[in-house]
Symmetry: C2
Subunit: 474 residues, 2 copies
C-alpha cells in the first residue's frame, strides 16, 4: 500500500530523527542506496527526493545528499510539574476575550491561532463532487433524520481503518457525532457526575477544559513530557493519593497531542490502560491527530492496548479531510448504551448528507494518497516555522519537536507574558493561542501555541517574524 | 401575501372551529359568498374548495356547502393534575427500551411513533438543488468550520420572519445549532445548575425530560389543559410554595405543543412572561411547531410579550422543511454570551452547507406556499386520523383537538396500559409513543401520542384501525 520509495524515506527519516544518522553527515549515494535496499535507481531517487521535500536532507552539488536537522539544535521546555490538585475550571472568560478580539480584528489577520489545516491541503473538490451528487440523487439524506448511530457505510470504514492499526472496534459501538467535541462531551457525560475530577495533560487542549467547565467537572493536571506525553507514573501517584478517588476519568490526546504534539510510547500507553482498568478510571482517548504522523506507520491508539472495550475512542475528520463537515465519532465500548441515550437527548442524530459524502471519498484510494501529501506538508511547514522562530524569537526560546500534526508549542524566555503579547500581536494582525488557555490554573503564561497548518507563504513567514520581533520587545 | 381565497377560507374555518357556524349548517352559496366578501366568483369557489380540502365543509349535490366537524363530537381528556413535586427524571431506560424494540421491529413498521412530517409533504427537491449547487460552487462550506453563530443570511431571515409576527429578535443574539435539541440543551445549561428544578407541561415532550435527566435537573410538572396548555395560575402557586424557589427555569412548547397540540391564549402567554420575570425564573420557549397553525395567522410566540430579551426562543426547521438538515436556532436574549461559550465547547460550530441551502430556499416565495400546503395537509390528516380513531378505538376514548401541528394525544378508557399496547402493536408492525414517555412520574399509562404527519394512505388507515382493535382487546 505504501510505495517502496516512501517506505525507504520514512525509514531514513526515523534514523535521522533518532540521531542515528547525525545532522550534517553524508547519506549513501543513489547507487549505494539502490543496492543496499535492493530497489531500482528510480526508487532510490524517489526516496531521497521525498526526504529533500521534507527538508530532512539537502543535496549538495557534486557531493551527494546530507542529513540536515535544525530540530536537533532546539532546546525544549521541561516536563510540566503541575501541583496534584483537583481544580474547578474557569476558562470560558478568557476564551470569550479571544473571541471578541477575533471578531474585531482586521479581517485579514494571519490565523496562527485556531488549529486547522490549510484548505488548499484538503481534497475539497472530491468532497464537493460527492456531496453534490448525493444531494441530487438521495432525497432522504435531506428529508430524513437518518439513524441515531449514523451512516453504516462510514462506521464500517472506520472499523476497517482501525483494524489496519491492529485496533479492533465494533461497528455496533460506533456512533457518528457533530464533530469530535460532541463525542468528547458524550464520553465525559457518560462516566462523570458533577463535582467529579478528570485527569488531563498539562498543558491541555483548552477545548477539554471548556468541556470540564461546562459539565461542572474538576481538572487534575498531570505532569506531561513535551515529547512523550502524560506521565503514567505521576498519574498513578495522584490516583493512589487520598484525593485521587474523586478522579473518575482520564481525558487525553495520546498521539500527536494538542498543544504539545507529544506521542506516548507504546509501553506507556499499555501501562496507562492497565492503570486505569485497575483503578476503575474511565479512559477517554482523543485520536484527532492520530493519522498525522511524520513516520511510516501511525502510532497505535490507546484502544489497541485495551481488550475489554474500556477505552472510549473519539476522533473526527476535521483535521484531515473536512472541518466544515462537522463529522466526528466515538467508539464507546462498554459505555455504548449510555452514550446512545445521551446522543439522542443531545441532538437526535447527526445530519446524514456529509456522512455519506465522506464515506464516498474515504472508500476510494484517494484518502491514503491525500494523507501522505498532507503529512509531508505538515512536517515541512512545522520545520519551516521552527526555522523562522529560531531566527526571529528571543534567545532562550524553547520549542517542542512535535511527533506529528501541525501545532508548535513554544516557550519564551522567563518573564514573558503571552496574554500581553496576544493583545499586541492582534493589533498587528497576527493571531495565536496564548499559553494560559491550556491550563486550569492559568499556568504557561510564557508559552504559546502556533498553528502551522498553513503553507508557509511569505505572508505567513512575515507573521512569524513579526511575532518574534514583538516577543523580543516585551 | 396570503391570497384572498385563503384568507376567506381561514376566516370561515375559524367560525366553524369556534362553533359560530354549527356543524351541519348550510354555508352561503358561491354567489352569496362572492357578494358578501366583495370578491370574484373564482375566489369564492377557491375558498370553499380549500375548506372542502380541509374537510371542514362538504359539498352536497344540488344543495350547496355544509359545515362538517367531527371534532366537535370528540370528548377530550381532562386537565392534568400532577402533584406539585420536584422529581428526578429517569426516562432514558424506557426510551432505550423503545429504541431496541424499534431496531428489531419489522423494517416496514408503520411509523406513528416519532413526530415527523411525511417526506412527500416537504419541498425536498428544491433543497436538493440548492444543496448540490452550493456544494459545487462554494468549497469553504465544506473545507471551513464556518462561524460559531452560523450563517448570517439564515439568521437575518429568521429575524425577518419573526418580525412578521410582531416579535423582535436581534441577529446578534441568534445562534444556529445542531437541530432544536442542541439549542434547548444550551438554553437549559445556561440558566440551571445540577439539582435545580425546571417547570414543564404535563404531559411533557419526552425529549425535554431526557434533557433534564442528562443535565441532572429535576422536573416539576405543572397542570396543563389539553387545549389551552400550561396553567399559569398553577405555576404561580408552585413558584410561591416553599419548594418553589428551586425552580430556575420553565421549559415549554406554548404553541401547538408536543404532545397535546395545545396553544396558550395570548393573555396566558403574557401572564406567563410577567410571572417568570417577577419570580426570576428563566423562560425557554420551544417554538418548533409555531408555524403549523390551522388558522390564518400563526399564534404569537411568548417572546412577543417579552420586551427585555428574557425569553429564550428556540426552534428548528425539522418539522417544516428538512429533518435531515439538523438545523435549529436559539435567540438567547440576555443569556447570549453564556450560550455562545457553551455552544463553542459543545460543538464548535454547526456545519455550514445545509444552513446556506436552507437560506437559499427560504429567501424565495416557495416557503410560504409550501407552508400553506403543509398546514392544510396536517389539518386534514389529523381530521382523518381522528375519524379512524373514533370509529375503531374502544368506547370512552378521548382525543385532544390540536390547534396545529400533526400530533394527536389520545386517552384510552380507564385501566388501559399503553406500554403493554405498545409491545403488542410492535409485533403487528405498528409503532406509537406510549403515554408514560411524557411524564417524569410514569403517568399517562392510559394515553398515547400518534404521529399524523403522514398522508393517510390505506396502509396508515389500516394501522390506526389495527391499533384500535388491539386497544379494544386489552
Amino acid at each position: 500500500m505504501i510505495p517502496a520509495y516512501q517506505r525507504i524515506a520514512d525509514d531514513i527519516a526515523g534514523l535521522i530523527h533518532s540521531g542515528r544518522i547525525a545532522a550534517g553527515s553524508r547519506l549513501p549515494s543513489v547507487r549505494e542506496l539502490a543496492a543496499q535496499r535492493n530497489v531500482s535507481i528510480a526508487t532510490a531517487v524517489g526516496a531521497l527526493r521525498a526526504l529533500e521535500f521534507r527538508e530532512l536532507v539537502e543535496a549538495r552539488p557534486r557531493s551527494g545528499y546530507f542529513a540536515r536537522l535544525p530540530r536537533l539544535t532546539t532546546p525544549e521546555p521541561p516536563i510540566s510539574r503541575p501541583p496534584a490538585r483537583m481544580r474547578s475550571v474557569k476558562v470560558s472568560d478568557i476564551i470569550a476575550q479571544m473571541f471578541s478580539a477575533a471578531s474585531t480584528r482586521a479581517p485579514d489577520a494571519v490565523p496562527l491561532g485556531a488549529a486547522f489545516p490549510d484548505p488548499e491541503l484538503l481534497p475539497t473538490q472530491s468532497l464537493q463532487r460527492a456531496t453534490a451528487r448525493l444531494a441530487r440523487t438521495t432525497p432522504r439524506l435531506i428529508s430524513g433524520y437518518g439513524t441515531l448511530e449514523g451512516s453504516l457505510r462510514l462506521r464500517r470504514w472506520i472499523v476497517a481503518r482501525y483494524l489496519r492499526s491492529s485496533t479492533a472496534i465494533d461497528v455496533s459501538e460506533l456512533l457518528i457525532t457533530n464533530g469530535g467535541m460532541e463525542a468528547l462531551q458524550l464520553a465525559l457525560h457518560a462516566v462523570c457526575a458533577p463535582g467529579d475530577a478528570v485527569a488531563v495533560e498539562s498543558p491541555c487542549y483548552f477545548g477539554f477544559l471548556q468541556l470540564l467547565e461546562t459539565l461542572n467537572l474538576k481538572a487534575c493536571e498531570i505532569p506531561t513530557h513535551p515529547r512523550s506525553g502524560l506521565s503514567v507514573e505521576a498519574l498513578e501517584r495522584v490516583l493512589t493519593s487520598p484525593t485521587g478517588r474523586t478522579i473518575k476519568a482520564c481525558l487525553l490526546c495520546p498521539t500527536h497531542s494538542n498543544p504539545l504534539g507529544a506521542t506516548m510510547p507504546d509501553a506507556d500507553k499499555a501501562a496507562l490502560v492497565e492503570l486505569c482498568r485497575r483503578r476503575n478510571v474511565a479512559l477517554i482517548e482523543d485520536d484527532l491527530y492520530g493519522e498525522l504522523q511524520y513516520t511510516e506507520r501511525r502510532p497505535l491508539p490507546l484502544r489497541h492496548f485495551d481488550p475489554h472495550g474500556e477505552v472510549m475512542l473519539v476522533s473526527a475528520f476535521s483535521k484531515t479531510l473536512a472541518p466544515g463537515a462537522r463529522v466526528g465519532f466515538i467508539a464507546a465500548g462498554k459505555h455504548t448504551e449510555r452514550v446512545r441515550a445521551l446522543k439522542f437527548a443531545a441532538s437526535v442524530s447527526t445530519a446524514p448528507l456529509m456522512q455519506e459524502a465522506l464515506a464516498d471519498v474515504l472508500d476510494g484510494s484517494l484518502y491514503d494518497r491525500h494523507l501522505r501529501r498532507l503529512r509531508a506538508a505538515c512536517e515541512q511547514q512545522v520545520q519551516q516555522a521552527m526555522r523562522c522562530i529560531l531566527e526571529s524569537f528571543p534567545d532562550g526560546t524553547r520549542i517542542v519537536q512535535p511527533s506529528g500534526g501541525f501545532l508548535l508549542w513554544v516557550q519564551l524566555p522567563e518573564g514573558a507574558d503571552t496574554l500581553d503579547l496576544y493583545r499586541r500581536a492582534a493589533t498587528e494582525g497576527v493571531e495565536f493561542a496564548p499559553g494560559p488557555l491550556f491550563s486550569s490554573r492559568g499556568a504557561f503564561g510564557d508559552s504559546l501555541r502556533l498553528n502551522c497548518g498553513h503553507r508557509i507563504t511569505p505572508r505567513i513567514e512575515g507573521a512569524f517574524r513579526r511575532l518574534g520581533k514583538l516577543a523580543r520587545t516585551a
